[in-house]
Each structure stands twice: as C-alpha cells, then as structure tokens.
Amino acid sequence: MTALTCTLLASFTTPMRIDTNAASMLWLIPLVVAIAVVYKATKVHQIRARAFAKETALLIGSIMVFVTVAALILYGVAWLVTEQLPAMAGGSAF
C-alpha cells in the first residue's frame, strides 16, 4: 500500500479539528448545495446543464437567505432574553 493510500485512509479514521466559532457555520454551505442539487435532480423533468445550474443556484440562494433570516431572528431573541430582560429586571439571567 502506498503512503498516499495510507494517508488517505488514515484521514477517515481521525476527526478534523473544527473550532466552535462563527466560521464553523460555513460548513452549512456544502450541505445546502448538496440538498439543493439532489432535490432539483428529483424535481426537474429533464436535466440540462444550464437550466439545472440556474434552478439549483436559485434554490441555494433561497435557502441561504431563509437560514440567515432565521439565524438573525433567533440571535435577536437570545440577545433579548439573556442581555436585555435581566437588565430590566435588575439582575443576571444566570
């Protein structure tokens, strides 16, 4: 077995190092692409490269916008509950 094959197989036996920061949210993007591609592949009547790419890109965009809006709303709610409400009540939430 060559060194390259060994390295390749070994990379599947140990997890990657992924921090729990905001940048790790970017892992969402490939997943959204995969979901959009497979969904559109089952929906379109015939797969033609340009039309398929266009429809998939539109779906990816829609999902990304919706996820961003949902994240902003949730962030706002969390900020209200953990920062603003305790300040109004005169104490910490924790």
Binding site: F12, T14, P15, V37
Partner: protein, 133 residues
C-alpha cells in the same frame, strides 16, 4: 402470468427501490435516466464522504447513536459494514467535527431516501404508461 420481470409491477418497483438503495442513483440508472443518476450518485457519495472525513468513521455509531445510524443506513447497505467496523469503538469521534460528520452522513442518507422514493414513483408511472400503451 407475467411474461417478464418488468410485467410484474410490484417486483419491478421493489427491484428499482433496492437498486436505488444499494447504489445511490442506481434506480434512476435502471430507468434510463443516466444524467439524473450521475448527479445523484456524485452528490450523495460526496456528501457522505465529506461527513466521514470531517468526523471520522466513528460517526457511524450503531450502538450509541441509533436514530442517526438509521438515517445513515439509507445511503447504502455498505454503511452496515462500516457500522460493524466502528462498533468496536476504536475510532475516536468528538466535538464539533463529530456533530458535522454525523449531520453530513445522515443528511446524505435522507437525500438518498428521497431519491429511492422518487425512483420508485417514476418506475410506477412508467409502469402505468406501459400498461396503457
């Protein structure tokens, strides 16, 4: 009595479903939808492999993560054998990488389930068309 296995509608649908499960896109390939089959194969396999690469083979955990394992099994029966290997517990899985790996491999499985259902439905429609013709 049915003349060919395609004439036996239920058997035809089962075979298409099994093909779609064994190899992602296999059902559509059998229905002569080659492009669709290739798109499905590449996307599902790539998503599954990215999940395994991120979280290690240990994300397939038939012992401690059964609901995730059920979704992962939808990728292919080959996942069952990977589960047997990882059940020994010698492959570490932890933290955000483990979560991402689990999500990727499970979503890949659920996407393939969508394709299996779609392939069976398409085969059913083709069968109806054939019966009318």
């Amino acid at each position: 009595m049915p003349r060919t296995w395609k004439d036996n509608h239920a058997l035809f649908l089962i075979v298409i479903g099994l093909l779609a499960w064994i190899v992602p896109g296999g059902g559509h390939f059998a229905l002569n939808q080659r492009r669709r089959a290739i798109v499905i194969l590449v996307t599902v396999v790539l998503t599954f492999l990215v999940g395994l690469y991120a979280g290690s083979i240990g994300v397939i955990d038939p012992v401690n993560a059964k609901p995730w394992y059920v979704a992962q099994l939808m990728n292919s029966p080959a996942v069952f054998f990977l589960g047997q290997i990882s059940a020994s517990g010698q492959f570490p899985v932890f933290g955000r990488a483990g979560e991402i790996g689990q999500i990727y491999t499970s979503i890949a499985g659920l996407l393939n389930l969508l394709c299996i259902v779609n392939a069976i439905y398409t085969a059913h429609l083709e069968g109806l068309k054939g019966a009318r013709a």
